[in-house]
Amino acid sequence: MLQMKNVVKVYRTEIVETHALAELSIHVRKGEFVSVMGPSGSGKTTFLNIAGLLDSFERGEYLLDGVDVRRLRDSAKSRIRNQKIGFVFQSFNLMPELDVFDNVDVPLRYRRLPARERRQRIERALEQVGLSSRMRHLPSQLSGGQQQRVAIARVLAGDPVLILADEPTGNLDSLMTHEILDLLERINDQGTTIIMVTHSAECAAHAQRQIHLRDGRVAEVDEPPSLVRGREPSLAPRLG
């Protein structure tokens, strides 16, 4: 699904160069749930941005779903982001002036889907995250956990093959954290690849594989047995 080889990302100012990623090589297989951990400044978010085609890189190779993204134009990257990738952010990043329905609608609008299909997808996605009754609520009328579920519904409506989650539970209490992680696991059980950046070892334990970054490189990879989540994937409840 995602294959990075010797990727280098350097941030430059007039007086200093910072090597955010230094020859980073990562391979994530289709259907995997991978967590990325590391101290601040280790390059986690930079990795996620490059993985999500939100930022460019200086050197190296990056194949996303078999496509060499280095050569793509901005519009092609936008199309891939729209059709293949879903983003979940720490601070939810919902549009405050749009209600739940319209927030979930955002990626579908850029896909230029007909109104009827958009409505069906939105209703289905909100049903999957249990927010069908809140369609016309504004984000400010929802709890943090509910807002993150709306953000996940926004991802689900687009039916991506890869979800990139940047500290998705960072702003949530422990109860909500479990709720969101359970939701992500259920999505992963449907075959969607998930890469989740987190500081929390507890959250990371929900992933099948933990990648530790340090100084822009992979420092360590933990590949625990499949039961590390504490349950058999085949026993996971089906979504939808």
């Binding site: 941005n49 999500g52 939100l54 930022d55 460019s56 901005d74 519009s75 936008s78 199309r79 982001r81 729209n82 059709q83 983003f87 952010f89 601070s91 990043n93 549009m95 405050p96 002036e97 749009l98 955002v106 990626p107 609008r109 850029y110 896909r111 230029r112 926004r154 687009g158």
Partner: protein, 438 residues
């Protein structure tokens, strides 16, 4: 997609109404000033009779003396009485009329008011049909009245109001100087922009309040109240000498519906001139001009240079207003980097982001343009009041649909100028940088 982007733009504007008001206010100011001065220019420059301007022609001839031409490297803007009569012999024009204005006493009913000197236009019956003059009551006089001349008169709506309280006065009598004229027609409101049929003097004044047949010039021995030019003293004394003189004081118009009519008529005027040359007149090189209204307006520089200059300055003012808003809009967009980043992450292309912000700017600009147009309407009213004494009318400057369109386009261009650079800047920034700004 456009409807969606408009809806999002509206919501975004409503999120920060204070900022939107400032931007709209800046554009309103620029649009108001530029529309005001563009309207002033437009009022001079617009075609006063667009439906007929391609068939109406003004006739001039270089009848000046052999040694020195008309001052200013041009020819006299009017024709002599004898040349008017010569031109009137042509049957090529479908309509034609010589005309001039005189200042005569008009006597209302003694119970209504005292006699007043009014500007009276002396013209032929064709004047009314040729210039599509609208009638409220009655009609123009006929050819028989021209020849008589019969004592008939056409009044403007305002004069009819003053003399007869606005009622249908057709058949009633009006005393002009020492003669009684029968009213045959009352004009409906007629307000061409420029008084195109007489561009020799006071072009912005309202049309005359009284019209009588041209031939009363002889019967009443009338002199023009407009300009007159001559290059030699009359050979005879008295009024007959004036009529036979080389003094030019008559405006002459013809209606030529086709290019063939025009070609034939030009040939006729040249032939007339050459014939006159045999009698000792027209000793200068042949220079006859049969000119359309738009060409005549250009030749006579009807649009004052000041009107052009102030319009250019006002457009620069609008540009400065727009440029001043660039910083404000850039700041706003950069502050919304997080939202832009999210949209880009969700698949918005640079073009989508660009269009979104341009639409937002254009929405504010249109709102500003609407306010600017209202301000310009107020400004034009003030200008009309200010120039009322000068022009003897308070409706010369008018914001018509063309000017309303100008205001809308000016607002849209201002919005584009103000919004394009900020929108371009933010859509060039990598989405990751926007997301980092949250």
């Amino acid at each position: 997609m456009l409807a969606y982007q408009l809806r999002i733009a509206w919501k975004s504007l409503m999120r920060n109404p204070g900022h939107s008001l400032i931007v709209a206010g800046g554009i309103a100011l620029g649009v108001a000033v530029s529309t005001l001065f563009a309207t002033v220019r437009h009022s001079f420059a617009k075609d006063p009779i667009p439906e007929k301007s391609d068939s109406l022609y003004y006739v001039r001839m270089d009848s000046w003396g052999p040694h020195e031409g008309y001052p200013g490297d041009t020819i006299s803007p009017q024709v002599t009485y004898q040349d008017m009569n010569g031109l009137m012999r042509s049957d090529i024009p479908v309509r034609q009329s010589g005309m001039f204005k005189a200042q005569l006493y008009v006597f209302p009913d003694a119970k209504i008011g005292r006699p007043q000197r009014e500007i009276v236009r002396l013209c032929f019956a064709d004047f009314f049909g040729m210039f599509d003059v609208p009638f409220k009551y009655g009609s123009a006089w006929d050819e028989k009245a021209d020849k008589g001349p019969e004592p008939v008169v056409v009044l403007s709506e305002e004069m009819n109001e003053r003399l007869f309280g606005g009622e249908n006065s057709v058949g009633r009598s009006v005393r002009i100087e020492n003669r009684h004229f029968r009213v045959v027609g009352v004009l409906d409101r007629w307000r061409p922009g420029i008084k195109f049929y007489d561009l020799t003097q006071a072009q912005v004044q309202a049309p005359e309040p009284v019209y009588i047949p041209f031939e009363f010039v002889r019967a009443m021995e009338l002199r023009t109240a407009g300009n007159s030019d001559g290059w030699k003293s009359p050979d005879q004394r008295g009024f007959a000498g004036f009529l036979a003189s080389e003094t030019t004081w008559i405006q002459f118009w013809v209606e030529l519906p086709t290019a063939q009519h025009l070609e034939r008529y030009r040939a006729f005027v040249d032939a007339y001139t050459l014939e006159q040359r045999k009698g000792g007149r027209f000793q200068r090189p042949l220079d006859n001009r049969v000119t359309s209204i738009p060409d005549l307006m250009k030749e006579l520089n009807i649009v004052p240079k000041e009107a052009n200059a102030t319009m250019v300055v006002s457009l620069l003012f609008l540009l400065i207003c727009s440029l001043n808003l660039i910083g404000l809009l850039l700041g706003k967009l950069l502050a919304r980097g997080s939202e832009i980043g999210v949209r880009r992450a969700m698949g918005a292309r640079r073009l989508d982001v660009f269009m979104q912000h341009i639409l937002e700017c254009e929405l504010v600009a249109l709102a500003g343009g609407a306010v600017g147009l209202l301000l310009a309407l107020g400004g034009i009213e003030a200008v009309n009041l200010w120039t009322k004494t000068m022009f003897q009318r308070d409706d010369f400057f008018r914001i018509d649909w063309t000017m309303a369109g100008f205001a809308a386009v000016a607002a849209l261009v201002a919005g584009l100028v103000a919004g394009a650079y900020p929108a371009f800047r933010v859509c060039r920034i990598a989405p990751a940088v926007h997301l980092k700004s949250q």
